[in-house]
């Protein structure tokens, strides 16, 4: 009897559908790519090296969405952190101090977003659209939109580069470990702590959460700070990888992160989602990009396919919600 209920119960988790699609896509791409190149070492290496950029950021964005809020300013926090890092390198600031200041950039932007959203009670989509434009404008004015190469101040192989971008045994990029480690840490917080429960309750029903004595403002501010911090880590990783600050860093990430979270089963209305789903959702979006090119399909169609996948999962999630609440 229990065994008979197991499959419907497993399927009632939104992430399980994403996982099924993810595995199916892996199989399809491996079988149908010419010379079965999908699982080729170079491709997996590139995915493990590049996917964490979006993945790490989406962890924060997804959890914030579970909390019932959005953050579009991520697209400015990433290059802003990178800019501060490159500039401080130029000023000769010690690397450890530079690291702390760069991470603080994200924390401060996150704090400001959190305060704005909780104080004004206006939709975060609009408020963070505003902060996105504000920070971007400031960044463009400060940088004059010029890239800043970092190699004259930071030779290759620095301790920070090894920690963030190293390659273990010549085959495994450390970036992937960062994604896994941060995902495990955040999964622990979200799924096994009281604070994690507060996030779910705040996103599901804020009024009820307040009635239960939860300081929902604090919960949201912490979630925003988390997003900012993760964006700074991504900005730093990108700056070290591309060996420069570029004003174009992170362009389009804000919507891609939301799309990845939706594919991973996070509800746009808040209160529903999981870290596992967010990670699988991000990876799904990324392997679609890679797999379609490996299949030899024209790259122009990638957006269409990703769009279709996002719509499919948004619809699917709606029906799973209805099904699981019956």
């Amino acid at each position: 009897m229990e065994r008979q209920k197991l499959i419907p119960r497993l399927l009632s988790y939104k992430a399980s559908f994403t996982l099924i699609v993810f595995v199916a896509l892996l199989v399809i791409f491996q079988v149908f790519t010419p010379n079965h190149t999908f699982f080729q070492r170079a491709n997996l290496f590139a995915l493990a090296r590049l996917a964490p950029d979006l993945g790490i950021m989406t962890l924060g964005v997804g959890i914030l969405m579970i909390c019932g809020e959005f953050d579009l300013s991520v697209v400015s926090t990433i290059p802003m952190s990178s800019f501060v890092f490159a500039k401080l390198l130029g000023f000769g600031v010690p690397l450890w101090l530079n690291l702390i200041v760069t991470l603080c950039v994200g924390v401060v932007i996150g704090l400001l977003n959190g305060f704005l959203v909780t104080r004004t009670r206006l939709p975060s989509f609009i408020l963070t659209l505003g902060t996105m434009l504000f920070w971007k404008g400031l960044l463009y004015a400060a940088s004059l939109m010029m890239p800043i190469g970092i190699r004259s101040w930071l030779p290759a192989g620095s301790w920070l580069e090894n920690i963030l971008l190293g390659i273990i045994g010549g085959v495994f990029p450390v970036q992937a470990l960062w994604l896994i480690g941060l995902a495990l840490l955040l999964a622990g917080i979200l799924h096994f702590t009281k604070f994690g429960n507060w996030i779910y309750v705040t996103g599901d029903n804020e009024t009820a959460a307040r009635a239960m004595g939860i300081n929902t403002n604090m919960v949201k501010i912490i979630a925003y700070v988390g997003v900012g911090l993760l964006c700074s880590i991504v900005g730093l990783m990108q700056c070290l990888r591309i060996e420069s600050f570029s004003p174009n860093q992170g362009v389009g990430f804000e919507l891609k992160a939301i799309a990845s979270a939706v594919v991973g089963g996070v509800a746009l209305t808040g209160g529903i989602g999981s870290v596992l789903g967010i990670v699988i959702g991000t990876l799904t979006i990324q392997i679609i990009e890679s797999g379609m090119i490996l299949l030899g399909l024209p790259a122009f169609g990638i957006g269409t396919f990703i769009g279709a996948v996002v719509i499919l999962f948004a619809v699917l999630n709606k029906y799973i919600s209805r099904w699981s609440t019956r």
Partner: protein, 328 residues
Amino acid sequence: MKRRVLMVSALALLLLMLIPALTFAQAKPGAGMYFRLITHGGNDPFWAVFQKGMIDAAAELGCRADIDLAGSDQNLQAKRFQEAVAMRPDGISLCINDDKMWDKPVADAIAKGINVIGTNNDDTQGSAGNARLAYIGQNESRAGLMIGRAVFAAAKAKGWDLSKMKVACAVEVAGANYGVVRSSGIIQAMAEFGIPGKPEIVDCTIDMTTAEQRITSYVIAHPDVKAMFGLGGICTDRLTSGMKNAGKQAGDILGGGFDAAPGTIQGLKSGYMIASIDQQQYLQGYFSVYVLYLMKKYDLRPQIDTGGYLITKDNIALIEKLSPQNIR
């Protein structure tokens, strides 16, 4: 008394010092003139160099000049153009980034007595397609031809069989004028070197991570591709990393492209990139002001090709030196 004499002497000295400065300011030929440069640019470093050229020229001529950056929003750019026309400046320099939408606004502005010249982007038909009075910018097709020639000559020098060579082009904005025209020059170079077919276009977006991922996947999926071009600065910047990610050594695939972003410079130094084209946009901003000034004064109407400066590992040091000054 002594104090008063001292004060009068100091004032007289100050006046004496100011006279040459005032005379010099009045002597500047463009004093009182105002020009407006309306571009589709925005979120990339390219335009900071363009703007620097404009500022330097305006300072030399003693005129005023402003730049509009529409951030690739054509509607906003059109609005800025109309606003500029309403201000009745002494001349407008415009990025003509569409073959149709600028035809009437430019003709109307000229009919109102405002000089309008094209810069950076031109109608694909040139003066036959748009009423603009002059053009300053890179001949994109010639630039494509030049970079194509440089890369294919390197392939020939390696003794590769060019008749079997596959070529690809990575582009940030698929279908954009610059990519289409630049790739047409590359196609012309392919024909010159006996390379059959056309290059495959890889849509990479303007995000660096996405561009790198797509270039990597493309290189893995197409082991027969032996030459790859970035049609814009971002894709050119990411070519080297894409090739490295795909397990290629320098020289396995010959890279070429446009502009001199940090990744491109590293690629040129490490041998993954054969050459890159600098369209010298400093000159586009600089000459825009000078040409509008000369047009107002003498009705001169030149066509200036600013592009075609080939950056290779031999002259990369100069680019590295001038880049932080927003000149290259």
